[in-house]
């Protein structure tokens, strides 16, 4: 019988603990949306606006720094409220790890996760190969467009804005864009939108280059090579150096700014390898310990 991804974790830790971060993430996504919808739907104006700019409780401005950057490049000098809002968001995502936005806040994440789930169920093979660097090219292109057209051109088509604004203010035929993104991820290429194309993700990757909050393979010596973490990870390339770099003195921190801090690797690991931690954890694990870890891993293997 084929072993289900994460089934070991469920057996060892129980279903709830094996879905802890996934549930937390969905709860956060829903909470963010609920905060935005409480005003228009129920009349409780906790948060006004949308992800491009919002005002919480009438005092806290939050602005999308990437949209603001495009506005600047397009030749507009924004007012202080927007600048402050963008600075708050930039700081928050610098601390929390830029693409934490992608996993924990962005509404398109639910769409592409759904497409990915259905892709796995239908057994759709890989599809078109899009290099992961494409998103940076698109990021550069959107900024060039802002400059050339003198307008925030990307906002005319940005699926994140179209979906989030659409849910809050009315979407019109904008759902067609969301269906298109879903079909893209389902049939055309695996994890195409969030992982390879979206310039917002690319922007937050750049923000995350030196982020302190990172996922750490703290007990990597316990890894039993089940590869469940690779399977669930939306950016599987980020895991290997942290998980398998012991002999080369690399890791155990996942330093790649592509990591979305989604925490699924923590959930799915039956050996408690991963945990949230700080990027400075690398110092605590000097190269000299490597041999010890290898020994420890062997023991683990025997235990199974």
């Amino acid at each position: 019988m084929k072993r289900g991804v994460g089934s070991d974790a469920i057996r060892v830790k129980g279903w709830l603990a094996a879905h802890r971060w996934l549930l937390a993430r969905r709860a956060t996504q829903l909470t963010v949306l609920a905060l935005f919808l409480a005003g228009p739907w129920l009349g409780y104006w906790i948060v006004k606006g949308n992800l491009n700019f919002s005002l919480t409780l009438g005092v806290l401005p939050l602005a999308d720094p990437y949209v603001l950057l495009q506005s600047l490049v397009a030749g507009h000098r924004p007012e202080r409220k927007a600048l402050v809002g963008a600075a708050v968001i930039l700081f928050a995502y610098f601390v929390a790890g830029g693409r934490t936005y992608c996993a924990w806040v962005c509404p398109v994440n639910a769409v592409t996760d759904a497409a990915h789930w259905l892709r796995a169920r239908l057994g759709v093979p890989g599809g078109v190969i899009i290099p992961r660097s494409t998103r940076y090219w698109i990021l550069a292109m959107t900024l060039a467009l802002a400059w050339i057209t003198g307008s925030i051109a990307w906002e005319l088509v940005n699926p994140i804005s179209i979906l989030h604004r659409g849910i809050i203010f009315g979407i019109g035929v904008g759902w067609a864009v969301i269906v298109a993104v879903f079909l893209l991820d389902l049939f055309v290429a695996e994890r195409a939108w969030c992982g390879r194309l979206c310039p917002v993700g690319a922007f937050y990757s750049a923000v995350a280059t030196f982020s302190p909050l990172r996922i750490v393979a703290v007990r990597r010596e316990q890894c039993n090579d089940c590869a469940d973490c690779y399977t669930v990870c939306p950016e599987p390339l980020v895991i290997r150096p942290a998980l398998k770099g012991a002999d080369d003195g690399i890791g155990p921190v996942i330093l790649s700014p592509h990591c979305t801090n989604c925490g699924r690797c923590i959930d799915v690991c039956s050996r408690h390898v991963f945990a949230f931690g700080s990027r400075f954890s690398n110092h605590r694990q000097p190269l000299a310990d490597a041999a010890q870890h290898v020994a420890a891993r062997k023991v683990t293997a025997v235990e199974l």
């Binding site: 005003g39 104006w45 006004k48 606006g49 949308n50 491009n52 700019f53 919002s54 005002l55 401005p61 602005a63 999308d64 949209v67 603001l68 506005s71 397009a74 030749g75 507009h76 000098r77 924004p78 007012e79 409220k81 927007a82 809002g85 290099p131 660097s133 494409t134 090219w137 698109i138 550069a140 292109m141 060039a144 467009l145 802002a146 050339i148 057209t149 003198g150 307008s151 925030i152 051109a153 990307w154 906002e155 005319l156 088509v157 804005s161 179209i162 604004r165 659409g166 809050i168 203010f169 009315g170 979407i171 019109g172 035929v173 904008g174 067609a176 864009v177």
Partner: protein, 251 residues
């Protein structure tokens, strides 16, 4: 760890080719999006931007599409354009005939705008210039037809300034006068209350972008009656004698 020259050259070449491939594909998308962005500047004249909105190209550089102005409009006249409309997606507008700007003295929409797409220097709503009302159809306007409808005049928040009623002789009967609603472009804010109020099936008075309707006199023209008002006295003392040119026979 250092590869030989050939390997490095091959690696550099591969990198450049990958970059070119990516850049080429993205350029294709970018060209398409650039033309779409160009087309998206064509704001239909029926869509009016909120008070203080910068001119369209600047507005599309500044507006964050956040909808804060929409939320803070107490009369909820503002909408964010949806995909599929011919207005740049996510930008705010209103339609005068459906719901005009109510000219709040504290201009909450401008205060709500975080980016300055709505100019925060606009503090007096009467200085807003959202468009310009034009009595576009004299053939159906009831006042032109001799009735005293005057609803636009009465609906105008700057009545007697932005719209006045100018008495004219009724062309069909010397027994009656007509009172023509007359828009004054130096006062009209383009709020759209006149268009909204017009009692016709389709309004005879319309708010349109200024550049579509406002003429411009040559610089050399002087309006005698205004120069006189400014001078506080007739510009020429006494009656000017002009040479009389009469036909030969009458001399």
């Amino acid at each position: 760890m250092v590869g030989n020259g050939k390997t490095r050259a091959a690696t550099r070449r591969q990198f450049l080719l990958d970059a070119a491939r990516n850049a080429g594909g993205v350029t294709l998308v970018g060209v398409g999006l650039a033309f779409h962005a160009g087309q998206a500047r064509a704001l239909p004249p029926e869509a009016i931007r909120p008070p203080g909105a910068r001119a369209e190209p600047g507005f599309l550089a500044a507006c964050l599409r956040c909808g804060m102005c929409v939320r803070d409009c107490p009369y909820q006249i503002l909408n964010l354009a949806k995909l599929g409309q011919t207005i740049a997606t996510g930008t705010p507008y209103f339609v005068a005939r459906t719901g005009p700007c109510e000219m709040c003295v504290d201009i909450p929409c401008v205060k709500a705008c975080p980016s300055g797409a709505l100019d925060p220097d606009l503090t007096d709503i009467n200085r807003a210039r959202m468009g310009l009302a034009v009595l576009a159809d004299h053939e159906t306007c009831l006042n032109f037809l001799g009735l005293r409808c005057e609803v636009c005049y009465r609906a105008c928040p700057l009545s007697d300034k932005a719209i006045t009623l100018e008495q004219q002789q009724n062309p069909r009967s010397s027994a009656y006068a007509t009172f023509i609603p007359t828009v004054h472009s130096d006062q009209c804010t383009g709020c759209g209350k006149c268009e909204h109020a017009c009692v016709l099936e389709t309004a005879a008075i319309r708010v349109l972008p200024r550049h579509l309707t406002k003429g411009e006199l040559g610089e050399h023209y002087r309006l005698g009656w205004e120069e006189q008002k400014r001078a506080g006295k007739p510009l020429i003392e006494g009656v000017t004698g002009l040479p009389d040119r009469m036909p030969e026979a009458t001399r």
